[in-house]
Chain length 142, copies 2
DNA sequence: TTCTGTTTGCAATCGGGTTGCATGTTCTTT
DNA sequence: AAAGAACATGCAACCCGATTGCAAACAGAA
């Protein structure tokens, strides 16, 4: 299957040794149309222990294969980075948290607008999360 | 003391019955030059139980006396709102989290820049947190 | 004062995240 | 192929910030 090769390639690009579980986790993250929490992954990968998922996510984060989003829901969410991403300021995009369905979306096409800081402060990264209703939920309410 | 009257006035403006502990908490938040976590408050108000601090903060939040900032540190931080603030989009300002000293600052003068959302999405609030080094810590490193 | 509702402290609980350790698997060397 | 080292995984326990149940303390109304 061609997809398998894609997963292997993504792992190789980030210097991550491919294991069955890492492929499973990556596959699940790529299949999602949104960012998953650890619990989301646990619920979808019932055969895999949560500590293993945690360590896999930690590994992926360290190798910049995925990025973490703190959407304020109390649990971090994770999504696969673009292939050219190094998780630096220029790579940052905005995120959207739906307060109705509690899903978190990456707006990869919407770059985070920058502000000028007071003297002496320096930026390492920026977290920009918009909270509101997603298109599905806003539609349902009408 | 004139300050006492200020605290009472702030509570009254938000329809919060003043108690000794509420005054203590408000005083501590106003004295700070930054946003405090629950733990920060517990450490400064050692005579007050942490559940009481929590319930006080919850009350203050519900009455828009303070706002919460999720700086990604794992614990929320709290700061007193401006007197004209309703915690709506127009009232939002940016925040700064120092990755060295772990303090969180309100940049009340820096408004959050907005972005245009995809069709169907609607904004309720925005969390904009810049992470990096504050002026104190950036200075020390040199 | 007495009654009622609110506020507070203490202890217990919850839940996401994290770690220690033993087992299982893979890789390397011979 | 066998032996040993290194890595990956599962299980159980733990950590810590947040939250809740409950009873005692307190404040205000009758």
């Amino acid at each position: 299957m061609a997809n398998e090769e894609l997963y292997l390639k993504l792992l190789a690009q980030r210097d991550i040794k491919p294991t069955a579980i890492r492929l499973l986790v990556l596959k699940e993250l790529l299949r999602a149309d949104r960012a998953y929490s650890l619990l989301d992954l646990e619920n979808r990968l019932v055969t895999v222990d949560k500590s293993t998922i945690f360590r896999t996510i930690t590994l992926f984060l360290g190798h910049h294969l995925i990025h973490a989003i703190d959407d304020g829901s109390g649990s971090l969410k994770y999504a696969v980075c673009g292939s050219d991403c190094n998780c630096e300021v220029d790579d940052l995009h905005t995120h959207f948290y739906c307060e109705s369905c509690h899903r978190t979306f990456c707006f990869k096409q919407i770059h985070i607008p920058s502000v000028s800081l007071p003297d002496g402060f320096s930026t390492h990264s920026i977290n920009y999360v918009i909270k509101g209703l997603c298109s599905d939920c806003a539609g349902k309410k009408r």
